[in-house]
Symmetry: C2
Subunit: 245 residues, 2 copies
């Protein structure tokens, strides 16, 4: 296993950071490393908002569900899927542009994620820690307002970056054989494999909490799907011009 693969496999979310600031030069280097990720048809359908204003970081921390580390970390980023820049460029070049297609939502969301994951790996390769913030989508309209996001731009997730002040364990993942399938999708063994994984996760939670958190993977997923998680997303995206046509 080479050091890069070792680095990838040692990922865990960091939610507690020292006061040390990331040097500006390194910070920009992380962004450049992000931009080197593959991009669909070279569209580069993303913008990254570096939230520096402390009041805004505090507000976003609350809107994302009370995640204090958004205000506390060295640098906080909001990764946005951006169809404005590329469609604008095509329009100025004379194209009669069609916006709001479902495909464009997929392209821009995927482009943004590939880019962010490169930023994450670059950061970890420099000893930094990070945490993705999906909670941005708890209140995407309010957060878009704070960041002045225009139409055809939507905040996909945030990312806290800084020097780690904790060393959490690596969280287990499903066995490779559960998610990797040869030639055809088949899931006859899913139920048994998930049961095994539930046992793995139960041990993980119990050990981490001195016996207090007696739960497993399936149990933890329940609240995500029983209620309509983030039911505003459709209307929010429509309002931002991602009409999913």
């Amino acid at each position: 296993m080479n050091p890069t693969i070792e680095l990838l496999k040692s990922h865990r979310s960091i939610r507690k950071f020292t006061d040390q600031a990331i040097p500006r030069e390194l910070f920009v280097e992380l962004i450049r490393a992000g931009q080197s990720a593959a991009t669909s048809s070279h569209v580069q359908a993303y913008s990254v908002i570096h939230v520096v204003n402390p009041q805004n970081r505090q507000k976003i921390a609350e809107l994302a569900g009370g995640q204090a580390y958004i205000a506390e970390c060295s640098d906080f980023l909001v990764f946005c899927a951006d169809m404005k820049r590329s469609t604008g460029a095509a329009e100025r070049a004379g194209a009669d542009v069609v916006r709001g297609m479902t495909e464009q939502l997929v392209v821009a969301s995927v482009d943004t994620a590939l880019m962010a994951q490169n930023v994450a790996i670059a950061a970890e390769s420099e000893g930094l820690g990070l945490c993705y913030i999906g909670g941005i989508r708890n209140n995407p309209a309010e957060i878009s307002e704070i960041l002045h996001l225009p139409e055809h731009v939507y905040p996909v997730f945030g990312m806290c970056l800084g020097y780690p002040d904790q060393r959490p364990e690596v969280k287990p993942r499903l066995p490779a054989e559960t998610i990797l399938k040869e030639d055809y999708y088949q899931d006859e063994q899913d139920e048994a494999q998930v049961a095994d994984f539930d046992a793995t996760m139960n041990t993980y939670y119990l050990e981490r909490t001195g016996g207090n958190k007696d739960t497993n993977w399936s149990e933890q997923l329940k609240p995500l799907f029983t209620s309509k998680l983030r039911p505003h997303m459709k209307d929010f995206l429509h309002g931002k011009g991602f009409r999913m046509e």
Copy 2:
């Protein structure tokens, strides 16, 4: 710049591969490295189909727009957003599951992309080359049929993996200052910056083709947005249970 960041910044798509096969052990290691990526609420909303059957690879190569390297590379993967496994697990645990939410499309697509990007980096760290195949979405219904993809699973993109038999240049990216914004989205300088980037890309295309390809970024984007690119995606996703509610 550390070796990992150097690796990230040297990414380019590889479309020509030697006959050398990726050892199975290494291949599985790449998948495991992929699974170590961050995942929203630990959902791990992806499955990867390893397409081994040569006839199926040939068919997919055609359906993806005639991309022969899909059939030629050592290993071809289709990365699928999978909401079936996790919602099924929650259901067996007693949850009254809601499916088809827009949020779930975003979560599963992002999870899949983060995972795939880790696979890509792990591969490149071992001297392999790769190429993402968005062309999978040219004919997603036919490809889903070949791969027996069930409801709540959709193919986001493919990936060709193998030992590179070409050394293409690194393709330029937009300047970091174009995509990185402090505190607020602003794009007053976008037009000027895109014009500069168009000049950069014009030089790149001319040099790479001995003067034959006289185009730029904005021009290259035009066909993507003038016609309705992949207008079937909405109905296809709806049919797969991603109803974007």
